[in-house]
């Protein structure tokens, strides 16, 4: 299955990126381009919704880490929405659960963001 990537920005200036399909060595460049494009447009607070991601490999992890570096250069943030155990397992194996904020839903992430303000 190909990768579908779309985004919208909430009224609290959070850009939610919906990702659907498989993120692997073939499709990861599409996600990378989206993240770069958003940062170039001045969107520095990103939330990647991975609930419809069916497969994620280390290439996809690398793209997310690259995106995190980019937004942090602008004092921004990149967090994730993910409840799928098979995807979360990859983050745990690589130790990236300590790097990314991972939430159960977009609403949870937004709530957390409000608390931190």
């Amino acid at each position: 299955m190909d990768l579908k990537v779309s985004d919208y920005t909430t009224d609290d200036d959070l850009t939610v990126i919906n990702v659907e399909g498989e993120i692997d060595v073939y499709t990861a460049p599409k996600l990378r381009e989206k993240l770069i494009d958003l940062v170039n447009k001045g969107k520095y607070h990103l939330l990647v919704d991975m609930e419809k991601v069916e497969f994620l490999d280390s290439t996809g992890l690398g793209v997310l880490v690259g995106g995190l570096k980019r937004v942090r250069a602008h004092d921004g943030s990149l967090e994730l929405v993910c409840t799928q155990e098979r995807i979360l397992k990859i983050f745990r194996i690589t130790g990236l659960t300590k790097v990314f904020g991972i939430f159960d839903s977009v609403d949870d992430a937004r709530e957390n963001r409000k608390k931190q303000k």
Binding site: A28, V63, T94
Partner: protein
């Protein structure tokens, strides 16, 4: 006369041009052979991911060094183990090393330049062996399989 009984150990071999799009095919074939070979359903995701990681690494290495050479995958359906061997043709490539200077910035970023692939393989495969030889790198992974 009854046909000869097939041997218990079968090998499916797959070779593919080092293109990212073919890694998905390798994952699908590996998962299908693993399922047929008696690997538990709960482990099939791990097989799929680990094979994909090993093939992605080989594709990257081939694209840098020998893009005309195919990547080779052997799927061995053994008596009590399902074994996968992914072989590249890049001589003396140290798979444990970090990003090499020849890697383009784009490719380095796609891979996170962190050797995340090996961390994933080591975390998922039940048994892993990585050997670097003058003819290339061989990654051998295996999982338990039950025969009815």
């Amino acid at each position: 006369m009854a046909p000869e009984i097939a041997p218990r150990t079968a090998t499916v071999e797959l070779t593919f041009s080092p293109l990212p799009v073919h890694v998905r095919t390798a994952r699908l074939v590996a998962t299908a052979v693993a399922r047929r070979g008696g690997v538990e359903e709960t482990l099939l995701d791990e097989v799929r991911l680990a094979v994909g990681e090993a093939c992605s690494r080989a594709v990257e290495a081939h694209q840098q060094q020998c893009p005309a050479e195919p990547v080779r995958v052997e799927l061995r359906d053994g008596a009590d183990r399902f074994e996968v061997v992914v072989t590249d043709r890049v001589p003396n490539d140290d798979p444990a090393a970090g990003g090499t200077p020849e890697v383009s910035p784009d490719l380095a970023e796609l891979n996170g330049n962190l050797n995340l692939g090996f961390a994933v393989i080591a975390g998922l495969a039940d048994d892993v062996n990585i050997s670097s030889t003058p003819s290339g790198v061989e990654i051998t992974m295996s999982w338990p399989a039950k025969k009815d």
